[in-house]
Symmetry: C2
Subunit: 200 residues, 2 copies
């Protein structure tokens, strides 16, 4: 499909097609954008690609994304460093920070236990979490793994590992989303909402 | 949505979101690709963006895409330079070349007449086409504009302009696609196929 284009166009289309979810047709449209876009925009994109690839790394403490060795949240002395939330992915931090409610710090596992996919405790940042809990003064660990089988398994595994350290462990509540009508909520969520109903 | 990411990630997401059809969600996924992809792949993409933006231009003769001032097709002495096909877009050349049947040269209008969108003959490469027809020894012009209202209007306009030059003008046939069952062909195409039926 991509022959007959100038060579650099063909190569660019091939590189764009490596982006997640991008096929040759879409890559072609992106290449036409690169062809016709203002020079500054293309130069900016070109430079940022390199910058992100070279400079954005995981925080050495919590494995959040960071341009420095310690991320902005770990560096923030205004936050509660005795409250630690465990999440699966850096994207989860973004979601929680959007909420604006949580003022503690984080630990990113960079994955979730999945025996089916052969992902065990050694493949995610569990050892690093336990080291932090032993070393730092953490009073509560909030586990924020997802509410599917793998997230549940990870929760149970972490609970077993953390209990002996005499640290309070909690899990974020799963239930009916705020503002959502019951008729639109899936069965599993409703079941969980009833099981974990609160006395008022 | 994109706050809380490292600054360069935020900027990269914004640049990716300028690509056609790409929203912030998709741009975010692309940025994660840039973060985790092998350095060579990202560097290659980065370089090609600049290369295409700086070097790929329109052929000075036919307005096909080209890295040189004259495109590969215009430079090819093995092709029939007395047969010229007029198309709307460089992508149309790719499609025709894939067919492998046509051995003439091209002229890209870089658009189509559209009174509704205020696109008149001066906004597309009509003057340049007429200059070529007056200057070069062209025996036949095949008009390959699309078969919609705008393509038809452009065809009629070109026909009127070229006729006085005493050059044979033809138009590519529109009809039932080869290999397509009649039941899957739309009404307009079928109507055209009957109107332009050929005696055998």
């Amino acid at each position: 499909m991509t022959t007959h284009y100038p060579e650099s166009m063909v190569s660019l289309i091939e590189e764009f097609a490596k982006l997640p979810g991008v096929g040759l047709r879409t890559a072609e449209r992106f290449a036409f954008y690169a062809l016709g876009a203002p020079h500054e925009a293309v130069e900016n994109l070109s430079k940022l690609l390199i910058k992100v690839n070279e400079n954005v790394r995981y925080c050495r403490q919590c494995f959040n994304l960071s341009e420095e060795s310690l991320c902005r949240i770990c560096q923030d002395s205004g936050r509660d460093h005795s409250l630690l939330c465990v999440v699966q992915d850096p994207k989860d931090i973004i979601a929680i920070e959007k909420g604006g409610e949580y003022r503690g710090i984080y630990h990113v596992l960079l994955g979730v236990l999945s025996p089916l996919e052969g992902i065990g405790p050694k493949d995610i940042k569990v050892k690093e979490l336990l080291n932090r809990l032993k070393k730092d003064a953490i009073r509560e660990v909030v586990i924020g793994t997802s509410s599917d089988t793998e997230g549940d398994a990870t929760f149970l595994y972490l609970l077993k590992q953390i209990k002996p350290l005499k640290i309070k462990v909690t899990r974020i509540a799963h239930g009916v989303p705020v503002g959502s009508a019951l008729e639109f909520v899936d069965k599993a969520t409703l079941a969980r909402a009833f099981k974990q109903r609160q006395e008022v």
